[in-house]
Symmetry: C2
Subunit: 446 residues, 2 copies
Amino acid sequence: MAKNSMNEIVALCKRRGFIFQSSEIYGGINACYDMGPLGVELKKNIKDLWWKHMVQMRPDVEGLDAAILMHPRVWEASGHLEHFSDPMVECKDCHHRFREDNLKKDKCPDCGGELTDPRNFNLMFKTHMGPVEEGATEIYLRPETAQGIYVNYENVRVPARQKLPFGIGQIGKAFRNEITPGNFIFRTREFEQMEMQFFIHEEEEDKWFEYWMDYRINWHKNVIGISSDKLHVVEHPPNKLAHYARRAVDIEYDFPFGQSELEGIHNRGHYDLTRHAEFSGKNLEYFDQAKDEKYIPNIIETSGGIDRTLLALLTDGYEIEEDEQGKERTVLKLHPRIAPVKAGVFPLVKRDGMDELGEKIAADLRKKFNIFYDAGGSIGRRYRRGDEAGFPFAITVDGDSLQDNSVTIRERDTMQQKRVPIDMIEKMIEEFTEGYQRDKGLLSGD
Amino acid sequence: MAKNSMNEIVALCKRRGFIFQSSEIYGGINACYDMGPLGVELKKNIKDLWWKHMVQMRPDVEGLDAAILMHPRVWEASGHLEHFSDPMVECKDCHHRFREDNLKKDKCPDCGGELTDPRNFNLMFKTHMGPVEEGATEIYLRPETAQGIYVNYENVRVPARQKLPFGIGQIGKAFRNEITPGNFIFRTREFEQMEMQFFIHEEEEDKWFEYWMDYRINWHKNVIGISSDKLHVVEHPPNKLAHYARRAVDIEYDFPFGQSELEGIHNRGHYDLTRHAEFSGKNLEYFDQAKDEKYIPNIIETSGGIDRTLLALLTDGYEIEEDEQGKERTVLKLHPRIAPVKAGVFPLVKRDGMDELGEKIAADLRKKFNIFYDAGGSIGRRYRRGDEAGFPFAITVDGDSLQDNSVTIRERDTMQQKRVPIDMIEKMIEEFTEGYQRDKGLLSGD
């Protein structure tokens, strides 16, 4: 896909109600985005499918939702106060700012001017808690969700009656005052993470690292349906690892702007719990009764960005091809499991009871699925809008529907149409969702 | 329920993994809380049921998820920069701080000392966006989610092809630097709201106010199952209304610390869109084609606190009564629709294949429900733990289960037990959930 297709995707997101720039009527706020009616449902589907496969279905993983505002000592223990900064340089002429480590030469990339010496800029947003600024506590918006898991390790393990190995999963927002955010929702200052920290004995680090790497790749491919050939596993060379890390692998996707990270799998050693034990004075050792052994657990982490996963899905599904009349159509081939709306319900025309029947069908289906009902304009244009919003099905109510209790169902990828009894629609959507293969309609087969 | 029962509920929340103080190992951070494995599921159920009934099932409501960080002009337009403050006084002796409007006399309630004159303290958390503090933009953590809806009104309405009346629903976090937070998770500095803003013609304001008030009360009673006799509707007297408000009603609950607000229904007039039109310079009028009429829509708002709804559910479900052996038991009578775990699966003893069968039953049920598996300790203690964590069912696998493919199911409220074939468990949980009536077991009837 060409690099400029990003502009088309951004335009589609606005036009169909996936994503808007935050505070757009005020000119926007840089690197923050709002999810519209379709974006919020798409994001919810990603989160729900992560939670189902990472928490609900796993006897060995517990859920957590820690606060964004944490005790400032957390960021001393984690090393963020000391290390979570980027080297920033400023052009002495145009005053644009850059991350020095991203620059290829030592002149300003915008105007060729001379750059200042780099200074370390901490990426955490700072604020004050307590009733007056002068007497208040300086606190930070969390730059990652992981620390909320580490500090709650014992709080969770004990009531959940878990023994090692076990994990804690969490979905939540994090904030980074990035020097150079960009690529739409890929790198933003407010974003959402889905993270799981798996606590293990050091001896099992290789086994669990491989296990979770495979499990996460499988999720991206087979649960949410990202194209296999655009996903890559990239091993970090040992000399590029964070100081505490023993091994790190990225799951990357071929974005229009280049191959970039969706999720990281990290062997963090016992750094995190050792540091929190030290800084808090609490004993965070695990006692293995069977082996009569005490130790600080090691951690294998799976840390994914929800917004960039959403962007990968949009990019991956986006295609331009010909419609039934040979005209260009934009289609968003999202897996029906992840599609924000499962079907559009369209009365052919807004009379003779077709609209009432359409409304009734929509109302029934809404108990289970997100449904888009639209009775206005030409049916062709309603199909087009549904295609580019990723609706797997268009359900058309016509004059015959009132007699034969059937509707015409058009499938998004193949544009095949089929007559289906109204009381079979729900079952058909469910079966199609489970058996979906991109570009292979299920409607013609049976 | 006695006032000191709050302490019991706080202890239960820690013990069973519902709620922990944020950053507890560092002594905690005031008025922020973390949701543990059961808390996160309970909260998720509240949010999912709100979304289903307020967005998914409604043809006239669209979803949104706006960023927490917004353009600072938003808070000028909304009036928050000017008005969102509390009058704060400080004791000259002990330096404790209080909201002046909450004090009953003019001496310090803690030590009797003299108080300072009140000063206005703005409750918004302030931070800086952009790479250096001196050149950065001063921004705020949103103190309410509503403004994210107003600024996106046109962004949402157009792609959703909505005509008035229609609404926009949103769930998200908000932050208030409260002077006197308290009552556990009732008033916190970081909290989550579920809000719906319904855009209407002024003529219909009374009709829609009544409609949404009834709809929301019904949701609290019949969807999430809060006791009717503890819910109250309280009308704000006209002289207590916010300057823009035309009518306001609170839905309140009988907490152990007194009757307090869960949700507000507000007629906000056309204040919000008028102000944003004025401050942004954008035309936010609605054009009604059929009537050939242009106007700024009025807004009816339903604004609920998720954390306080969660606290109401915990308080409402909490009971101490006698168990099968006449001993005291703590039981959390949550509606099974809202219960964080639907069943505990307990092999009677951990041998003779009972644990393997128990694990298999748990794994099958986990595809649909949250399940807690526990094979250790006396069965009586496992029942007790499940009761106070609100599990509607305990499923016990015994020696006979391997022969007759059946298990013993014990129902939480009545403690009745029944033998049920393994392949009927899923259906039984679903039917029981729909037909649940507190304290009336379904197991004995058929």
